[in-house]
Symmetry: C2
Subunit: 290 residues, 2 copies
Amino acid sequence: MPRYFGTPPGVHVGQQFIDRRELHFAGVHRPPQAGISGTKAEGADSLVVSGGYSDDEDHGDYILYTGHGGKDPNSSRQIAHQTVEAPGNAGLITSMVQTLPVRVVRGRHSASPYAPAAGYRYAGLFLVTDFKPAIGVDGFTIIQFRLDRIPEQDEYIAAAPGERDPAFVSTVVTRRIRDSAVAREVKAIYDFTCQACGISIEGFEGRRYAEGAHVRPLGKPHLGADLLTNLLCLCPNHHTQLDNGGLFIRRDMGLEDRLGVGVGELTFKKSHLLLQENAAYHREIWKLAS
Amino acid sequence: MPRYFGTPPGVHVGQQFIDRRELHFAGVHRPPQAGISGTKAEGADSLVVSGGYSDDEDHGDYILYTGHGGKDPNSSRQIAHQTVEAPGNAGLITSMVQTLPVRVVRGRHSASPYAPAAGYRYAGLFLVTDFKPAIGVDGFTIIQFRLDRIPEQDEYIAAAPGERDPAFVSTVVTRRIRDSAVAREVKAIYDFTCQACGISIEGFEGRRYAEGAHVRPLGKPHLGADLLTNLLCLCPNHHTQLDNGGLFIRRDMGLEDRLGVGVGELTFKKSHLLLQENAAYHREIWKLAS
């Protein structure tokens, strides 16, 4: 059976499950023990937040989730490093790059105020929006993922009446691009032209489109600043590549791909500067992961 | 004073205003009479939903909003065609292409269950996600816009403590890409390769990224189907261009830009077919608008 992404037919957000066996048969979370269901090739389709990791943070709409591996099953303490090669972690990174929706289940063990008092509760679909290798509270490398809840989009499910059983049409997923006031400023400076390739995307009657790309990502866990010195004006293709570990900025503002091959350089206007430390942070995160 | 996008400092979602004068001085909606504040060059920064158009639909999280023009101020009936050249309408299209956030205010006249009992209420920031020229209930052309509420993203506002007054950091905006199960299917068919240009975006360790592009948009007002026959596998750049009226599909599956110049052709696998009527719908919408 192929891996199923999205909320299974008949399951609703908030639904309670007594045990892992029930989660399995409902198709919400298949593995009997593992916290993450997934592989590098297919992506991860579900995970359980059980509070077993001391670095987890549950904010309701978003979760900082520690990846798989290196934990002592008895003491629940970290006793070894985590890697991005572990199938669960590799699966979550694939889900991030390919914007695959991940079913999130909260277990009763969680320290989170959103966790159920008993058993398990289906929390709905989330997107993996960031990850970061970090040193956990126990002194070992952990892989920390950021999961953002997908806003409900039930309206789209009814878009094709009669053509397909609505119950089998999966929930719609969104890719988030943070577009703040400063991001609009950097686009104005470059007149919607990509600093990496010079492309400017033209829409209706010549209106133009570009994206403000934060080099060190905004918000937790990266805490990058929403300032011009952390922003580039990029076309969607180069933005996607930068955000997904396929494009890196050298100290001399040259660009290289994931294999270290030079692929041009960034163009700058006099009124704009990218801080070295932000480019270095971006390089470091992906290097630490590999 | 440059046009201000985003929620002004000190204003909160749900805030009540007695009259247009109060809206003006709070910087929520500047024009004394017009329903839309904006121009083609700058984009639209705010609008008022007042229920004056019989084709408006307020669904809370999204609104179908009739553009400006052609209305008899006394009878509130449509007496002439609307055009995309009217500054308000042109501004909303610029806001759509450039993903600018639009402040939405609901007035008491609205037939909507979300409207206030008296005066005006600030409904927060929305994105213009679609538009459609249509024949209104009064028999004249109207420009119908779809506005989607931006989910709250307050967390990011605190991302750069001390570096900028948080009150002046605008709310973060997201660009939505509908990525359903069928969209994932079309990406698998083409192995994440763009049908327009053959590019495949590579991320971490060779993971690849592409987007499932609905030719006739999903949901209201377009009601496109979430089916393979309405989908293409595209790189983000070509997807953006297609969605914003800069790229069109000819009957022979050739591609042309907004000036009608040929720019290559779509590549198809044997297991995939785009319905002519979906490509025709997409061409027609933008042609009707211009």
